[in-house]
């Protein structure tokens, strides 16, 4: 390909990808348009709303503010890559514990902020398995939600943290609930 494009290798949801991308392409555009992963949402394109949050090497980023070329050689997880990652429950449900907690607590209304919100929560719980309420609120303060008023989201993240710390839960396997 000509000038202005670059070849990058990224692992997306555990799958290695080799892509020829314009150097100005954002990670959000790569995920949504090049790879067709529409679960990641575009709400503002300015890093204000958090709807486009994905994990880059396990850490939440606004994918509208990251260039695809910056992800070269790195690991990207989107909402589509979350299922199965937390281990299924005894009913064979493959949802991640954070997704399950969002459903149980009614933390989803219109759902447009939900993928980004869930990715931020997963990133938080990987770094801090036992967050306080203030830590949860601080972590999601870059993810706007106009529907819920946040209370149910905060409850869901706290509960997911507790579930994941149980034996067999993601991030806490074999560690027990201490």
């Amino acid at each position: 390909m000509g000038a202005g494009t670059a070849t990058i290798r990224v692992t997306v949801n555990g799958r290695p990808e080799s892509l020829q991308v314009p150097v100005g392409l954002t990670l959000l555009e790569m995920v949504r348009d090049s790879l067709g992963l529409k679960g990641t949402k575009e709400g503002c394109s300015a890093g204000d709303c958090g709807a486009c949050t994905v994990l880059l090497n396990g850490r939440p980023v606004n994918s509208c503010l990251v260039l695809a070329v910056e992800a070269d050689g790195h690991d990207v997880t989107t909402i589509e890559g979350l299922v199965g990652a937390g281990g299924g429950d005894d009913t064979g449900n493959d949802l991640h514990p954070v997704q399950r907690a969002f459903l149980r607590h009614g933390a989803i209304q219109c759902g447009f902020c939900s993928p980004g919100m869930i990715m931020t929560a997963v990133g938080l719980l990987r770094a801090n398995p036992h967050p306080t309420e203030t830590e949860v609120r601080t972590a999601i303060s870059g993810n706007l939600c106009r529907c819920t008023g946040y209370a149910k989201i905060v409850q869901a993240v706290m509960e997911a943290g507790r579930m994941m710390s149980l034996p067999g839960g993601e991030g806490g396997r074999g560690r027990g609930n201490h």
Partner: protein, 728 residues
Amino acid sequence: MATTSTLTAVGRPFERLDGERKARGQALYAADIELPSMLHGRLVRSPHAHARLLGVDPSAALAVPGVVAVLTAKDVPGRNAVGSRGVQDQPILVTDHVRFLGEPVAMVVAESVAAATQGTAKVKVDYEPLRGVFTPEEALAPDAPALFERGNLCHQARTRRGDFDAARRQAALVVTNVYRTPMVDHAFLEPHAAVARPDGGDAVTVWVTAKTVHPMMDEISRILGWPKEKVRVIAATVGGSFGGKPEIPLGCLVALAAVRTGRPVKMVYTREETFQTSAKRHPYVVRLTHAMAADGHILGLHADITADAGAYTTESRAVVGRAVGHCAGPYYIPNVDVEGRAVFTNNPAPGAMRGYGVPQVAFAHEIQMDIIAARLGLDPVEVRLRNVLKPGLPTITGQPVLEGVGAEACLLRIRELLAAEDATDPCPPQGVPDRNGELLGWGVATFYYGNGRTAVEDVGRARIRREADGSFTLFVGVPDVGQGSDTILAQVACEELRVPWPAVKVISADTAHTLETGPSSASRVTVVVGRAVQEAARRMREFLDSGGGADWRPGDPLPEMAAEYRTDSTSLDKNGQGSPYGTYTYGVQAVKVGVDPRTGKVAVRKVLAAYDVGPIVNPLLFQGQVEGGVTGGVGYALFEGIRLTEGRVANPNFHTYLLPTALDSTAPVLAETVESHDGAGPFGAKGIGEPASIPTAPAIANAIHRATGGRFFELPITMEKVYRALRR
């Protein structure tokens, strides 16, 4: 009296039906739809708020690689005017007269968004700028430039009853104040988007993000000059509405572009476009005069309400029509003289937003009630109790309050809860900091809200089909805009069918499969559409109970039942008298604030609410509506506001237009319901969507007054305003 305790589906906190799809990222919003050989649209928008359009030259844009077409007003085959509620005065592409900044003058259609964007920069447009009008006062001045031939007065509405002048003469106390509220944005997280696909040469399918699909179908068919049967409109997953969406010109434009190019077309607004050009909440100036008896009874109310309608009618008539009927609050007032008007300006046109003209007047009447209480030496709850509407008493439009309504019970319950708070956690006196250095205070606000569309017979329709496997499919014309209406209506159907949850699947808002049943707005879905669902389900159950469908064989048509429900509402006479709604939701919120005296920063510490909303269909969704509504109310009270400079939105993004974040919205919201059963909705249930938000801003204003002594008559009550008041 029915209670939910005997019910198995209604009253249960089921997870929402679309929740798992959304949690997995599988729900398809309009911008997520991809179709083969799809084109992308971008709009050329006027940089002037008021101008004569002299000419559009697309030739340079057509030379941009990838640009397929440039559409202008000349390409509109039908009548180039759209609108809602019967007034069509807005062109989808400007013909000759630009009325607001950002109004579309041409649409560039290209192989990619990038090419379309490049193309828009190459379209040459000649304008002759005109003097604009940017406030209702300017617009009504004798020498003001007119937006329309008929002048700048968009609409006028009145409510008159009794003899206000006589009441004023008898009054022991007369209280007059002027209240101002800002334009605010819905700020749904999903920007406007639409996709159209030509189906052969003479039909089109359009996916929109919308609270309603049938009026969109009507407008597209008129724009194309096609019969309605040739236009199918489907609501994609809707990323929040709050009264906003559809953006009618957007749906028409993608349909037109698809028909002209013969290829699917998608268009997605940027956040800035959404802020600059789509509907908002109307800014109001409200002047209220209460004539009071010495014992705290309201003898009369005079109100003068002016709304900025912006550049086109959109929903301004109905918004003002609702405001003049709600501006008294839920109180019995025998003598009333109310006049409201909407005025055209060269600002972006406001439309419907959560509360539909009522949050503005509730801010005014609820601060009035607190001021009156203080002047008469009464407790704020007590003055409300002396006037609150009771069964049999008329509202200011003369509609008798239904038996079973518990507006008074809401106030009594809030009084009990506040007494308990005072016993366990009393606030220090006004102006005295607590041990954390905060000024504390509780404020209350009461409201009522008519469920359904104003002064028209509101119609709900639904259809239920029994599938071959014995399950049921419910077809309803209203989209689930995120509030959970699919789930609520399925619970009603399950209950009436007496089948276990979730044996009912829902197909909503697809003009090819669902009956017209009005919009997902006006807090009407549960009551009006819910009753139609209940009736369709009852007919299906009776059909099956009487052996219907027993001889069904594969290949036979599936058994189906449809039903229609019409509210008892009436039109209003020239004095605004009549019964404009089937029923009302009533309620009270009490809000505790903490004010930092060093900075003026206000934090909401606790929210108590009591509602007359009938039995709750789904407690999880109910609590979600209340928590979200309160949070929207906190933003409205404390910091939200579109800042306009000659029609240009100065804060068109989320780093300048701030929304409440998880760190701003930390207060527990404890919502209760009182016993109420006025029989209007299915199993007695009523609407909560808008009522959740309406009383929050005035309750906060009253709480700030209790904490600091400062009175605020204009929203938002920013930190700077509180800081200055504390220094006075």
